[in-house]
Amino acid sequence: MTQLLSATDICFQRDDKAILQNVSLELQRGEILTLIGPNGAGKTTLVRILLGLLHADSGSVQFAPGVSVGYMPQKLFIDNTMPLSVYRFLALTGKTCRAEVVAALQRVGVNDLINTEMTRLSGGELQRVMLARAILRKPDLLVLDEPVQGVDISGQSQLYRLIGQLRTELGSAVVMVSHDLHLVMAQTDTVVCLNHHICCHGHPEHVSVDPAFLELFGRQQDTGVAVYTHHHDHQHRHGSGECLD
């Protein structure tokens, strides 16, 4: 595997509040990296910096030459005064023919929606349509910000399985933001646990027993549902990017 992306010592601060501190990460071609962390941990900020939508105060982001990116934002707000079909949404940027759009929609399982108006889609349908737009560009890197938002539990695992399959088919690397580790894990190569700094990172099985992870998310490995228990009073050695043992 060759390196696709590396971010070094990213710091980002807004209104005197440090949102990201010395965050570094690397991504290989074909690797699935999942960013987890509590609300307000800076996950979306980090993703936006990686995509060049935000500029870090310090640190650098470097892509391998010629990398194409498919992005699926956390939220998509289309005013309901805009008559836009799913087909037009997918064909908005770039040169695309109808057959390619149909194929992409088919791959994510919503080809019957091609003529539906965007504003009439349900939460789960919208996620799949956005995923179709991201894969339409045959990207080397898929960036998915909370891809299973608004999808019911069974749909969530289906969607994660689909993302895993797409990685194999397209050979693209995936950076994914998520709240809960359990459904993600099976498809993930690397988990990065973020709370303004990198608390711990590594293979999912290692991270899930990592003390820093357990402190952040609590012990809920055997419950089916991830309950949110985040304690703010924990301490880390900052900037090391290593796990506390």
Partner: protein, 269 residues
């Protein structure tokens, strides 16, 4: 040309009609973006600043059309910068800016009450008094804006749907957004002649809103909005001609009636 049509239609009416139609044609597609991007308040702010342009132009005795156009363009750029720096998070700030410029314009204008600056012509439009020069300028500007909108159509749609997504997919969001603001400033500057600063936003929004329920694609909506706007201009001028109603407000009223009709029509389906 006027000689030919004179028997049927007096020249002033012909000029007014042509001016109104050229503004309505371009207000259609632009109005769609105002509706889709929820920029009505931006429109108001730009429009009200046009009056300030009039007052300053009068004060400095420069050509009023040029003063208004420059004023609008300048404010549009300011708004772009403010938006970029995220000063403009709320409607409140725009509301303050919008009405403060309107008030300042009115105060400056009234300070020269001994002169012949007719403020109501700028507030509500003075379509029936357009000159041949006005008509020509407005038609040219309208054609220019229309050409720019069609050239930028796809990137404009892309940033309207989602700016981040558009940027990741290679659209230069900043330039497209800035162009949209400048085009809007130009249209507001020319629309002031037709409906006046207080009613410009109506001319942008109402035809676009009326065409929403009739259309299935963004292009359809833009074209229908142009057509409905043109119908409103014809209707308003007719009423103005026969019943001596003020032209600008009549046009807006006519557009509002068309909007009501579109509601009833789509409910009937």
């Amino acid at each position: 040309m006027s000689g030919l049509i004179n028997p049927i239609m007096p020249e002033f009416l012909l000029l007014s009609l042509f001016t109104g139609l050229s503004v309505a044609v371009v207000a259609g597609p632009l109005g769609c973006f105002v509706v889709w991007r929820r920029m009505a308040y931006f429109g108001d702010t730009l429009a009200h600043s046009a009056l300030l342009g009039v007052s300053f132009g009068w004060l400095l005795s420069i050509n009023l059309n040029i003063a208004v156009t420059c004023g609008c363009l300048l404010l549009a750029l300011l708004l772009v910068v403010a938006q970029q720096k995220r000063f403009l998070a709320t409607d409140t700030l725009l509301g303050i800016l919008s009405h403060a410029t309107l008030a300042l314009g009115l105060v400056i204008a009234s300070a020269q009450s001994n002169t012949r600056l007719d403020i109501s012509a700028y507030l509500f439009g003075d379509l029936l008094a357009v000159t041949r020069g006005d008509t020509l300028t407005i038609a040219l500007l309208s054609a220019l804006v229309l050409a720019a909108i069609s050239y930028l159509w796809r990137p404009l749609l892309a940033i309207t749907v989602d700016e981040d997504l558009a940027k990741v997919e290679g659209v230069s969001v900043f330039w497209v957004r800035t162009s949209l603001m400048l085009l809007m400033a130009l249209v507001i500057a020319i629309a002031m002649k037709v409906v006046g600063v207080l009613l410009i936003t109506a001319l942008l929004i109402i035809p676009a809103a009326a065409s929403r329920r009739l259309s299935k694609t963004p292009e359809q909506m833009a074209i229908y909005a142009s057509i409905l706007g043109m119908l409103a201009v014809c209707g308003g001028l007719t009423s103005s001609f026969w019943w001596d109603t003020p032209a600008g407000p009549s046009i807006v009223l006519c557009a509002a009636l068309l909007f009501l009709a579109s509601l009833l029509l789509s409910r009937g389906r």
